[in-house]
Symmetry: C2
Subunit: 379 residues, 2 copies
Amino acid sequence: MADLSTCPPLSRESVIEARARIVAHVHVTPLLTAQSIDSIASVPQSEEALKGTQWEGLPPANPRIHFFFKCENLQRIGAFKARGGFNSLLRYQQETLKDAEASKDWKERGVVTHSSGNHAQAVALAARDLGIKARIVMPLVSMPNKIAAAEAYGAELVFSGYTLQEREAAVSDIVEKTGARFVPPFNHPDVLLGQGTLGLELQEQARSILDQTPEAGRLHAVILPCGGGGLLSGVATSCIGTGIKVFGAEPSYQGADDCRRGLAAGKRIDRVRSLTIADGLRTSVGEIPWSVISDRTKVAGVYAVTDEQIKKALRIVLERLKVVVEPSSAVPLAVALFNEDFRTMVEREASGGVFNLAVVFSGGNINLDAIGDLVREES
Amino acid sequence: MADLSTCPPLSRESVIEARARIVAHVHVTPLLTAQSIDSIASVPQSEEALKGTQWEGLPPANPRIHFFFKCENLQRIGAFKARGGFNSLLRYQQETLKDAEASKDWKERGVVTHSSGNHAQAVALAARDLGIKARIVMPLVSMPNKIAAAEAYGAELVFSGYTLQEREAAVSDIVEKTGARFVPPFNHPDVLLGQGTLGLELQEQARSILDQTPEAGRLHAVILPCGGGGLLSGVATSCIGTGIKVFGAEPSYQGADDCRRGLAAGKRIDRVRSLTIADGLRTSVGEIPWSVISDRTKVAGVYAVTDEQIKKALRIVLERLKVVVEPSSAVPLAVALFNEDFRTMVEREASGGVFNLAVVFSGGNINLDAIGDLVREES
């Protein structure tokens, strides 16, 4: 793992530097708009929809929202994780090449990580692009498609254990024996600053769209999914000093809203066990992301939604926006459509005007055979 | 219908004019790349895959293809038809406003068309944006979701007949009674030139991507779905004089490859009855599109694929590119992956190098509940 003392500070400037570092390796992903989804969000929820929720019987909020959808599902490997992966490996390369001794066999020593998901693919891809060796520690029970994806990028797979602790031990073992560099999935400045680069892109893209209609004003806020917190804290860092508010979105199922609960309690929750359909968000927030997220000047709030609401939002994205997203990606839109606390806040913030809100789709790696079941309309 | 004698010629310049006309009303859709799909296309098909086809026993082609995917599924109304719709209505507006008498009640007279698909939505949307009345003649057996989509844009729906002839008669009737302007779905220069605007966009977008790696060369060709032929002929018109070759792609099921067969026979085929899954391509090519497509200097060839091959390509688009496309959109990619005549030609054209090929996704209006069945992998 890159020594924390050598890492750049968690500032907007560091995100700008990270962007210059990775720009040749990642896609500039599109920022889409969709009047039909704006219309859905810009009418009050029905009394029926609020029945059985904490907002039953209260007058529904009536915000006007103009969405900007940042499509990191169209990023390389199908997820924003490519950014953090490349930033980590390129920083490793820069550091190593300064040192004649270290640079001798660094490609062979390479990198190691543990993940069964998008981070594994991100590290494997970045290692392949840079021509260095990657070892990925995967759970013994990994899905065949995840295994195939990491193998396709030429990574060496090590199957180990059922628990995170076992996999972390396997990583330590590899680091010790081979001298490989550990690339953590989210709890590290290199990763956080890499993910933050999408924030800079979306600020520029929203600006260029909004400039076409002067009365449209500026981008007011961005809302992102929060799992380990690398994405949320990275983009929040990219927004420092811009006046753009940053919000997090989580599934509430089986307590997966650890970040929201932690903020309420004033203390990070370090353990979550949830089987929410938003499977990218089953993790608890890491310490370094938490240092950013718990700063109210950087992240203005975190909101949660049910798995049913996530499914509804997922259907709207597939049907109206025509992009494939994984359930985790649909969580922020679900908040904007269904969470009355969020919608009331938006109505108040915009004071009668339109609220320009960027929604980040984190990834699109979904099992196609499951899409039908996920989005089936209740009869 | 706009008098043909007043229409601009079918030239690249006319496409450029059309683009200036519609630019404020349509999205610039993204042009995506995907190394993983390039890799799939850039290995020879297996002997197994060619078994039972006309290429059985022949050595498979070995082209190297770099794809550029033009995402008109992300266009307004989810399909390229928005372009032709806006161009037709804006031309109508320009013409009418020149004439004091005609301009008096033109908004109320409005436009009429017959369609149960994307063209209906395109005309309804353009009419709403321009504040004029739209009447849509739909088959008596239209799908509820198509009806809802056209109604959502405020169009007046007229249900009439089971055959195209009955619906055309209903349109004539409305034109006579109300003075509405008929907007044909594809067999008209205004429509053709409107669709062609996406060709200009993709030329610029491909250029800007290819310029980043000087050794990558230029865009060699574009391949598009061919139903009524408005898209294919429009984009071919946008490519005149650029050196970019243009190809058409059709489903072969039940003779839906009328354009390919017509070219072989030297005569347009004006009747098709096919239930191919590529439901946007069940039409035969119109006369005006045919005048462009049958010119070998404008369209270099048309190729066909089976419905099974279309399903395979559809799965690859959803899984690797993470965008939702309708089956018709997957037909050009299916040709590039599975049609050995096309692949042999590409290998020859590129003479050992990489062939830069743009693939146009025409639309993304698919019934979500059917996606699971469409893309299920054969066991």
